[in-house]
């Protein structure tokens, strides 16, 4: 058990190191200095900036400083947003994205699992067919189209939600819904498949034969086993939510970390890109690690492997 967890932690650390190195190499292989933009700087200013960002040092020294700084949680100064550290910018944007992410994940798991169970219990009946059509559509229409249609309907025609930003709180409804559509469709299918498989098992027949109510058979026996694939999907789900935020925060005008990342990529603010990429990676790897460890408790079989 402890061996298993240790192994996972080491793997997570290696992953983070790999991504940090890759980001560093990529960002440093861009031709020209990040500071030499279209604007004409004088030489003294350019040298001062090089000195400030440590760009005049050899790459290896910069790499070591980068790893050490990041290990201490210091992501450096933004090149373009004068006077702000990447940490401050992330700290300002992350709460919005985190809130949307948490609500969306909750929605995905609760509704996805429920819809999957309902579809499995009514297999090949109308409700099942209907849910399957919905989930096919959910996995087909791009999130930016959903987002725009949502805004068109609820903001422009009905005037119920703000078209931009998260004030008042109704502004959260759209981003959360749109973020969760794709994964919700996936979870529904996943849950339906594994639920159908479990319901055909012998122990379910035994439980029914003992005279346990159908509700208990479904919730206590079948669901506990059928939910395991959904638990494994949480890692990829967090990844979906993170990448989804790039688009959704742009459409809904939310100052979260996804729109920060997009804008720093478009303005080529390299320290920001590096900082946010590593931040994303750490966040994702951490979520996957937590799921891996939780999995031991959900599925005791794994202990003996």
């Amino acid at each position: 058990m402890i061996r298993y967890i240790l192994k996972r932690v080491v793997a997570a650390l290696i992953t983070i190191w790999f991504i940090m190195t890759l980001t560093f190499v990529l960002m440093n292989s861009i031709p020209g200095s990040p500071i030499s933009t279209d604007k004409v700087y004088d030489v003294a200013l350019q040298e001062a900036l090089n000195e400030k960002f440590g760009l005049n040092k050899p790459p290896l020294e910069r790499y070591i400083k980068y790893i050490v700084d990041y290990a201490h949680g210091d992501f450096g100064m933004s090149y373009l947003k004068v006077g702000l550290t990447t940490n401050e910018i992330i700290a300002a944007g992350f709460p919005y994205s985190l809130r949307i992410g948490i609500y969306a994940s909750g929605l995905i798991v609760i509704f996805g699992v429920m819809a999957g169970i309902i579809a499995a219990l009514r297999q090949n009946k109308f409700v099942d067919r209907f849910l399957m059509v919905l989930s096919t559509l959910g996995a087909t229409i791009p999130s930016f189209v959903f987002a725009t249609l949502y805004l068109f309907l609820f903001s422009k025609i009905l005037g119920l939600v703000p078209a931009f930003g998260v004030k008042p709180w109704t502004g959260y409804i759209g981003p959360v819904l749109v973020t969760s559509v794709f994964s919700m469709a996936f979870v529904t299918r996943l849950m339906r498949t594994s639920m159908i498989e479990e319901l055909n098992q012998d122990y379910i027949r035994t439980a029914r034969a003992k005279g346990i109510s159908e509700f208990k058979v479904v919730t206590k026996h079948a669901m506990r086993n059928a939910i395991l694939p959904v638990v494994t999907y949480v890692g990829p789900m967090v990844a979906m939510v993170v990448t989804g935020s790039f688009v959704i925060e742009k459409v809904f005008g939310i100052p979260g970390i996804g729109s920060l990342f997009t804008s720093s990529v478009l303005t080529r603010d390299y320290t920001m890109i590096m900082g946010i990429t590593v931040f994303f990676a750490v966040f994702l790897v951490f979520c996957t690690l937590v799921v891996d460890i939780l999995y031991v408790f959900v599925d005791p079989r794994i202990k003996y492997e």
Binding site: T136, P142, V265, F280
Partner: protein, 447 residues
Amino acid sequence: MVEKKEHIAPELWVPLQEQEKDSEKIEKPSLTFLQDGWRRLKKNKMAMVSMFVIIVLVLSAVLIPFFWGYSYEEQTLTLSNTPPILKVYPIQDESNDMCIYITKSYDAMEVTHKGELVQLIQPTYKDVITRKSTYDLNGKELVIDYSLYTQALKEYNKLEKKYADKGEVPATAAKYLSHYFGDEAKNTTVSLVEAKNILEEKIEKCSVTYDGNRLTESKSVWNKTFILGSDSLGRDLFIRVVYGARMSLTVGIFAALVNFIIGVFYGCFAGYKGGNVDTIMMRIVDVIDSVPVTLYVILIMVVIGSGMQSIILALGLTYWVRMARIVRGQVLSLKNSEFVLAARTLGASTGRIFVKHLIPNMMGTIMVAIAMQIPNAIFTEAFLSFIGLGISAPMASWGTLCNDALASIYVYPYQLLIPAVAISVTILAFNLFSDGLRDAFDPKQRK
């Protein structure tokens, strides 16, 4: 004992017809793996319809640009933002025989009765303060008065302040409402949202007067010049959507190739060698896979700049991971089978074993995995283009088309709707087709 001989007349002895030879045999023709899968695929109606849609899509993406009258970058600035269906005012008298289309910015455009766009008419006098434009059509005067909407908007803004807390508005409170409801205005109350809706959608926003008479009769005609309308720079939306299909399909095909070449061989090698080589190679896959591919693609795009080549390169570097994992799993179970042992004993090289023995045996799984990756790649391209990292102007992809339409979504919704429908239909077709393919070729994976 009397032997009874039965005599058969010699003319009854005829050779058997060629096709009757096998009539006693009870056997079906043996089917190859592909034939068998194809037979099962043909029974799946959804998959066949999807396949048809994909074929039509590929053919039109390849062929239509060769004979279409416009190129994707051809701009006609005066004919910008025309929808696919035009609401026109026909004018027919001794000096003029044409239709007038009023654009959303209240300019008059000359349209033939069939719906071909002719030109934007130059006003002789444009009064910005009273919001009236005057045109001279072969000696007759055409006046467009677009002050109606602004007046109504003013009234609505007053209503919004006055009735904000009540939420209900009597229809007599504003002129545009009482005009809209006519005789029933006295007894009607509407909510503020409804009042706004009437303002935006229902009432006439401008009045068109020709030769002193107000034109009330209007008809709808199809836009014959641009069958799906034109965008904000007057480019033909149809050909741009077709070009978008080219981009998306190129990306999809390339992703499939990468999957096939890198993914399959990487997975084969790792699985076949086993041991430490396998462990290290699969750790690398794990590490790459633990962060969404989109993030890598974005990083690579930052380095090499946006554009078609960079999308393809970025996809190529990262898109093979999942395939490698699937193939490795298959190889692990296949490499100990007798036919591989036999091949090895006969001295076949590792490469030959891969190409001639392992890969043909995994073809079903590989095909299914590829078919599932193509829509993912198309999605990724649309997504990147949408956030401004993909194809750059003047090239068109479905993602950029959607992004371009976003700025004027409330005024020209068709500009978003058309590429959005195109993406959705394509992805749906690929998804259903790959589902069908999976059921036909890889029944073990069936979900």
